[in-house]
Structure formats: structure tokens, C-alpha cells
């Protein structure tokens, strides 16, 4: 019954490979101020594309999508002067690779009291990779209600899609090799804001949970 810790999850990695690690000589591709600017830009894009965002609900995908959704909500509020419903949507039970690893601990699902029926739900995650996480999120959302539309906001799009999925809002497009790892650090979890790119470590079993959350 030993479940994997949340931070080890990497469902979005192509081929279902799990648990990429923080590489030692990792290169910063997005620093703190750049990340702030990217989020601000996304917030404005959401408002533009949704014509003021009156029916927007932000749902972060645990774990790092959740604080990103909160930051977007905060920015939208600052601009519009009203609160944006936001919550979290755990996709663990909808993953297509559950059988490949020991049972995982669940993340939190917190749907705002307004629910999702008729809303424009913007899913928020840190890295878009294979697209499988988003596929699972769409399934999970479907069991909760019927949004008017669903959009996807992502901090880093590193390519290598395995499903016909694309992001509506992208903080940074980051061309990567499959051998590389993308690590998103957020001050809420990691004490600092940064996106790191490094070479993949050979998969040597479960070491300390990496900060990577694809």
C-alpha cells in the first residue's frame, strides 16, 4: 500500500516514463521576474480571450498547477477588481499509467462552490509535455460537471505531444530533447521561482522526490 509521493509524479512524460530528476548542471531558462511577467501576460490573455473573464473558473492541477492558478487568479482580481473562482483538480484516479507504478497518494480536488456547470474552466498546470495529464484532467472534469468550455494555461510547453492537445495560454515555449528534464520551482513549494533545464539522469529508482512536475 506504499503510495508514491506526489512530487514523484510525472505522468506527462512521453512513454509514461516517471520521475525525472533534478539534473546537477541545470540551466535556468526562466528566472523569477521572467516567470512573474509570463504569468501576468497569461492573466491578461485570459481576460482578453474570455472578454473580461466573468464566467472563468481556474482549476490548478496538483501539485504545482495549484499555486500557479492562485497566482493567475490574484492577477485577474487585481485587474478586474473582483474575485475569480479557483480550485484544484486532481487527476490521479484518471491517469492512464496507474498500473505502471505503486498506487499514488491523491492530490486535493477542490471545486469552488459555483461548480463547473456552464463555466469557462481554465485548467492550469506547470509543464505541458505528452498531454496525458491534460487528457486525464478533461476526463476528471467530465465526471464533475459540464463546463461551457475548457481552456488550458501552461507555464512551460516543452513539446513532444502524444495526444492531440494544445495549450491556449503558454508562459514559455521551450524546445527540449527527450533526454532533458524540465524542473519548475515555485516559491510556494521550493522557496524560489525558476524553470530549470538539465540533462536527464539515468533512472536509478526512487531517490529523493524531484521538484519536477511535468
Amino acid at each position: 500500500m506504499c503510495a508514491q509521493s506526489r512530487a514523484e509524479r510525472d505522468s506527462d512524460a512521453p512513454g509514461g516514463s516517471a520521475a525525472e530528476r533534478v539534473p546537477e548542471p541545470a540551466r535556468t531558462v526562466l528566472d523569477g521576474p521572467e516567470m512573474q511577467r509570463a504569468l501576468t501576460r497569461i492573466a491578461h490573455e485570459v481576460l482578453e480571450r474570455t472578454k473580461g473573464g466573468a464566467d472563468v473558473t481556474l482549476l490548478g492541477i496538483p501539485s504545482r498547477g495549484v499555486p500557479l492558478a492562485a497566482r493567475l487568479a490574484e492577477r485577474i482580481e487585481r485587474v478586474e477588481g473582483r474575485t475569480v473562482p479557483q480550485g484544484s483538480l486532481d487527476i490521479t484516479m484518471y491517469r492512464d499509467d496507474l498500473r505502471l507504478a505503486p498506487a499514488r497518494a491523491l492530490g486535493r480536488t477542490e471545486i469552488p462552490p459555483e461548480g463547473v456547470d456552464g463555466r469557462l474552466v481554465v485548467l492550469v498546470d506547470d509543464v505541458l509535455f505528452s498531454g496525458r495529464t491534460v487528457r486525464a484532467a478533461l476526463d476528471a472534469l467530465n465526471d464533475i460537471g459540464r463546463p461551457r468550455a475548457v481552456q488550458l494555461a501552461i507555464l512551460v510547453d516543452r513539446g513532444h505531444r502524444e495526444l492531440p492537445i494544445r495549450a491556449d495560454y503558454v508562459g514559455k515555449n521551450l524546445p527540449t530533447s527527450l533526454r532533458e528534464t524540465v524542473t519548475v520551482q515555485l516559491s510556494e513549494y521550493d522557496g524560489t521561482d525558476a524553470v530549470l533545464l538539465g540533462p536527464a539522469k539515468p533512472r536509478a529508482g526512487a531517490e529523493s522526490p524531484a521538484a519536477e512536475e511535468a
Binding site: 500500500m1 484518471y94 498506487a103 499514488r104 492530490g107 486535493r108 480536488t109 476526463d139 465526471d143 464533475i144
Partner: protein, 302 residues
């Protein structure tokens, strides 16, 4: 962990993982689509050698909410009642490709035996007078929901401890999670080696009640008096039953639990059973969430 046979097998982290998972899964019961795809294509067999509609239904619902295929295999009317051995039944289930077997049996250790004979996961749904780990998990879950903590919680378990699988599992699990357990029973109904258990023992309910955050009542079979465990049901009730007067002397926020089915009048008076501080019905609801969590954690991974 491949099986859940004893509450004592769970580490603190594992037990908390079950409770946390159950708390997340509890949301599913409040949705319009009360189903998750997680165990699609997996087969769960409910193998019940004892009648227990309550527990079987709870497991069945839990498995179905996770999209597992559920087969109910009850002893009555099956080859089991025609004398088929537990081992042969196990091999039959094995051949049917059962991924999980939920077993209720009157013999202590039946789940352990079964676990040796099948490849799938075995969930002990009550074995004789040994253990009932999912009951303890749902009890502990209910305590945490109601009282917000487990560490240092003072829990009195009252009744036929000697023959109670619920008591055994609860003592082990509550100890693992940092609660302080006091068993309360006539001396005839506690095991001889109870001093080696991680709990204290009292023969005096009135002394324990005011110091308890939780009072858990166990089922007491009136037939026990024929084996001289106590003189009469009336005397038992007078000394160990939870009536309105005793209830009034409990702490204001203390809760009353019962694994069911209750014997009203003997173990618990109707007014106590029906009071807002009785968690009997919550326990039933929480049972489904906890069993979903256990099924997911045992069968959901590789």
C-alpha cells in the same frame, strides 16, 4: 503492501495515507457521477462466509464506485455450503482471475490463509475473533472527521473485547496513530494477556467516561451469559451499558460510536443511539470512502 490482513500491519504513514485518500474520495459520494474509472477492468470478489449485508454492501459499493467488476460469492447456496474447502474456493477464484478478494470468515486467520493461496490482494473484512481492519480505519476516520485529531485522543472501547475483532483492530490502529485507548469491560471479557496490549484497561465505565473523547461500544451477545461471562443481560447493562444518565456525564463534545448492529437497551439506550453525538450513520457512510481508499491503494497500482 499487497494485502490488508491486520490493522497492525499498517505503519503510521500508511494509515494516514488511507485516511487522507478516503477524505479525497469522500467527495465522489457527493457528486452526480459517483464513479471513478480507476479500477476499470479489475475484478473484486466479495467472499463472505458470514452473513454481513452491511459490510458486504459497503465493499461492493466501494469497488463499484471505482469501476471494478464485483462478484459476490457468498457461502450460502454455493459450492462452499456443499463442503468445498477454503483452499479449493481460493483456487477457483484464482482461476477466475480475481485481482482482489474481500473475505469475511468465522475463522480467525482465514484471510491470512487465503493470502497464501491466491495471487491477488486479500482484504480482511473480518476474520473470526481476530481483526476487522477496515472497520478500525473507518472508525478512526470518523474520529478524525468529528474531532479533528487523533494524536492524544482518549478513546474508551467498551464491551466484549475478548471476542471482538473490532476491538483488536482498533487498539492496534489507534495506538499507531497516537491515541490513548482504554478498554472497559467486565474482567471475564478481556483477554488474559491484555496487559501486554498497547492500551489500558478498566472495569469501571463510570470512572472512564468523563475522561473520554470517544466512547466506542462493542456488540455484546446476550448468549455470552450462558458461558458465565456475566450473570445476566440486565447486570451487564447496569454496569457497562451507555444509558442517558451516563451519556450526560460525558464531555460535551465527546462522541459515541458503535460498529453496528446495535443491541438497543443492552449496550446503548435508544436516546443515546439517536443523539447527534452518535456517529453510527456517519460510520456507515465513511465506510464506503475508507474501503474505496483501501481498494485503490491495494489494487490501483502496479
Amino acid at each position: 503492501m499487497r494485502h490488508l490482513l491486520s490493522a497492525g500491519d499498517l505503519t503510521r504513514d500508511e494509515a494516514l495515507l488511507v485516511l487522507d485518500t478516503a477524505a479525497e474520495l469522500a467527495q465522489v459520494s457527493g457528486r452526480s457521477v459517483k464513479k471513478l474509472p480507476t479500477l476499470r477492468g479489475r475484478t473484486v470478489v466479495n467472499l463472505f462466509y458470514e452473513d454481513s449485508t452491511r459490510t458486504r454492501t459497503s465493499f461492493e459499493l466501494a469497488a463499484k464506485r471505482l469501476s471494478a467488476d464485483v462478484v459476490n460469492f457468498s457461502a450460502k447456496g454455493s459450492s462452499v455450503s456443499k463442503g468445498e474447502s477454503l483452499k479449493d474456493t481460493a483456487l477457483t477464484l484464482q482461476a477466475m482471475g480475481a485481482d482482489g478478494v474481500v473475505v469475511r470468515h468465522s475463522a480467525s486467520g482465514a484471510a491470512h490463509r487465503l493470502a497464501e493461496w491466491v495471487d491477488g490482494s486479500v482484504l480482511n473484512a473480518g476474520d473470526g475473533t481476530h481483526e476487522h481492519p477496515t472497520q478500525a480505519l473507518l472508525d478512526v476516520y470518523t474520529m478524525r472527521e468529528r474531532l479533528g485529531r487523533l494524536d492524544g485522543l482518549r478513546v474508551a472501547i467498551v464491551g466484549d473485547v475478548l471476542h471482538s475483532r473490532v476491538a483488536r483492530s482498533n487498539v492496534l490502529l489507534l495506538h499507531t496513530l497516537g491515541a490513548e485507548v482504554t478498554l472497559v469491560a467486565p474482567p471475564t471479557l478481556v483477554p488474559v494477556s491484555v496487559h501486554t496490549w498497547p492500551c489500558s484497561v478498566s472495569y469501571d465505565l463510570d470512572a472512564v467516561l468523563p475522561k473520554s473523547d470517544v466512547v466506542m461500544l462493542l456488540r455484546v451477545q446476550a448468549e455470552r451469559m450462558h458461558d458465565a461471562f456475566f450473570p445476566t443481560a440486565r447486570e451487564y447493562s447496569r454496569r457497562y451499558g451507555l444509558d442517558g444518565e451516563r451519556f450526560a456525564r460525558m464531555q460535551d463534545d465527546a462522541i459515541v460510536m458503535h460498529p453496528g448492529p446495535m443491541v438497543r437497551g443492552m449496550e446503548i439506550s435508544a436516546e443515546v443511539a439517536d443523539s447527534a453525538r452518535s456517529t453510527v450513520n456517519e460510520q456507515v457512510a465513511n465506510g464506503v470512502s475508507v474501503r474505496m481508499a483501501v481498494l485503490y491503494l491495494l489494487l490501483g497500482g502496479s
